[in-house]
């Protein structure tokens, strides 16, 4: 436990050491969704916002896009720690870390908690900035209890992804491309700024296999009253089932891949 907390403290200090990175990460959620928000503002001016409301079930495009950006910020904060592992490989400190008294799960938890803490601060700032500048009103009667449950289940599923990507990165030294492809494709398949029902059917199958697709859709449903793909209760149960599957599968895959990687040598890079 102490070792895990020490690694968490190190991760936080390391993140804050590069202040320009902190500035960049602070504005990242806003800058990511702003092109979509401005596109919607223009569409509203030329009378196309009705189509948006018909597809999404809400006129509140600012909240619609911002929820996607903030949600993805948290999800990515967890499974994005595969890049931290890659960094350890680059700096030649992976074997030292693996040979230390920190448990594997402790390493993952330490890194992910540091990322989640940063994501929380940056997301609060993003929401505050949007609220102050253009106003942010989710409207209606948001069901915060269900929203929090969906959010927590999404994070559990994200840990499953983190385990899997960790294992792949350890086992395959050129896993960086695999992780990059996943990182590039995931926002598209997850529907951060549009409902996945707009995707062509073959891509939609991949979308539906991701728990984040259902999580984000459910969040918009409970916070904005937007239409959900399935009835909300069914969707929450589905997220829970997918989260349980991914965390179990991810952990088993990680153990198997790590065992194989250690047999071949972790220092080969």
């Amino acid at each position: 436990m102490r070792a895990t907390l020490a690694l968490l403290r190190y991760s936080l200090v390391n993140s804050l050491r590069y202040r320009i990175d902190v500035v960049g990460s602070t504005f990242s959620p806003i800058l990511w969704v702003l092109p979509a928000v401005l596109m919607a503002m223009w569409a509203e001016r030329i009378g196309l916002i009705g189509d948006f409301a018909e597809v999404t079930g809400t006129y509140n495009y600012i909240a619609f896009f911002l929820i996607g950006g903030v949600y993805w910020n948290f999800v990515e904060a967890v499974w994005g720690i595969a890049f931290s592992l890659r960094e350890q490989m680059f700096t030649g400190t992976l074997e030292n870390l693996w040979a230390s008294s920190i448990r594997r799960l402790g390493i993952i938890i330490a890194w992910s908690l540091a990322s989640l803490l940063a994501a929380t601060i940056f997301s609060i700032i993003a929401i505050a900035v949007v609220g102050v500048t253009v106003g942010l009103d989710v409207g209606g009667d948001p069901r915060w209890g269900i929203a929090i449950s969906v959010f927590v289940l999404s994070l559990i599923a994200s840990y499953g992804f983190a385990f899997l990507l960790f294992g792949l990165t350890l086992r395959f030294k050129d896993a960086e491309n695999i992780v990059n492809i996943i990182a590039n494709v995931a926002p598209l398949l997850g529907g951060i700024i549009f409902p996945v029902t707009l995707l062509p059917l073959p891509l939609r199958f991949f979308s539906y296999a991701l728990p984040f697709t259902w999580g984000l859709d459910a969040l918009r449903g409970v916070l904005l009253g937007a239409e959900t793909i399935l009835p909300l209760t069914m969707q929450v149960i589905l997220i829970a089932v997918l989260a349980a599957f991914f965390i179990g599968f991810g952990w088993i895959a990680f153990i198997a891949l790590e065992r194989r990687a250690r047999r071949e040598g972790l220092s080969i890079f």
């Binding site: 990242s28 092109p35 491309n177 492809i181 590039n184 549009f194």
Partner: protein
Amino acid sequence: MGMRIDKMRGLWALFKCELLYWRVYPLNLINDFIGYFTWIAPFLFAATLFGDYKDFQIFIAVGLILWNWLVIFFWGVGYGVRHTIDQGVLESIAASPTSVHTLLIAKALISLVQNIFATASILFWLWLLLGLTLEAHWGKLFLIVALSSVALSGLALIFAAFVIWVKEAASIGDIIHQCLGLLSGITFPVYILPAGVRVLSSLIPLTYAIKGARNAVLGECIVLEAMMLVLFAVITVPLGWYLVSAADRKLRQSGTWGEY
């Protein structure tokens, strides 16, 4: 004359080195073929939220494709120096008969190749997934793209000088390229921005690149945009060249070329 031949040989060697990188890591090509499209695809699909208007979607697509040109030049040329530092070969190049300027020209050329590849892949995915095809006055479009390449390369040189100076500039580079995209109207016409912000937009070459490309697609006049891009090229390229020279000189004096 002999020195010029040396520099050309050096340029060709550095350019070939960058090309070989793709041959050695073919998965990078596959990643790029998918990645360039998936990076902008969320905005393209978001555009379909406002109805099945192909003109609206093409308008958005053109802005995003030109933004992608900026990003590739920015990171390929501007941050390419950082990659060379990471590989530990920058000091060797700086000490060779070539120069860091030659390195940056090689990176600009490879970024141009990358941009052509990226645009082709994006147009392919646009056709396959969204049923969109680009129809334009191709002569005008090629002229705008060619002028944009020079102007954006100049901007990338300025960023490269900054990277050489501060060494670690990934996050600030992220903010800069995203802000440049927002100010240039990648997913909307610039006129919807407040008047004060529009002044900033008018100072960015990407704004004219996007407007010119959109006009070319509509078959409209591109003279103003072409002239502005020429003006930006005349300003940014020499300025970037000078700043890189200044950064080079400073680092040689302090002996910190190879430092992180």
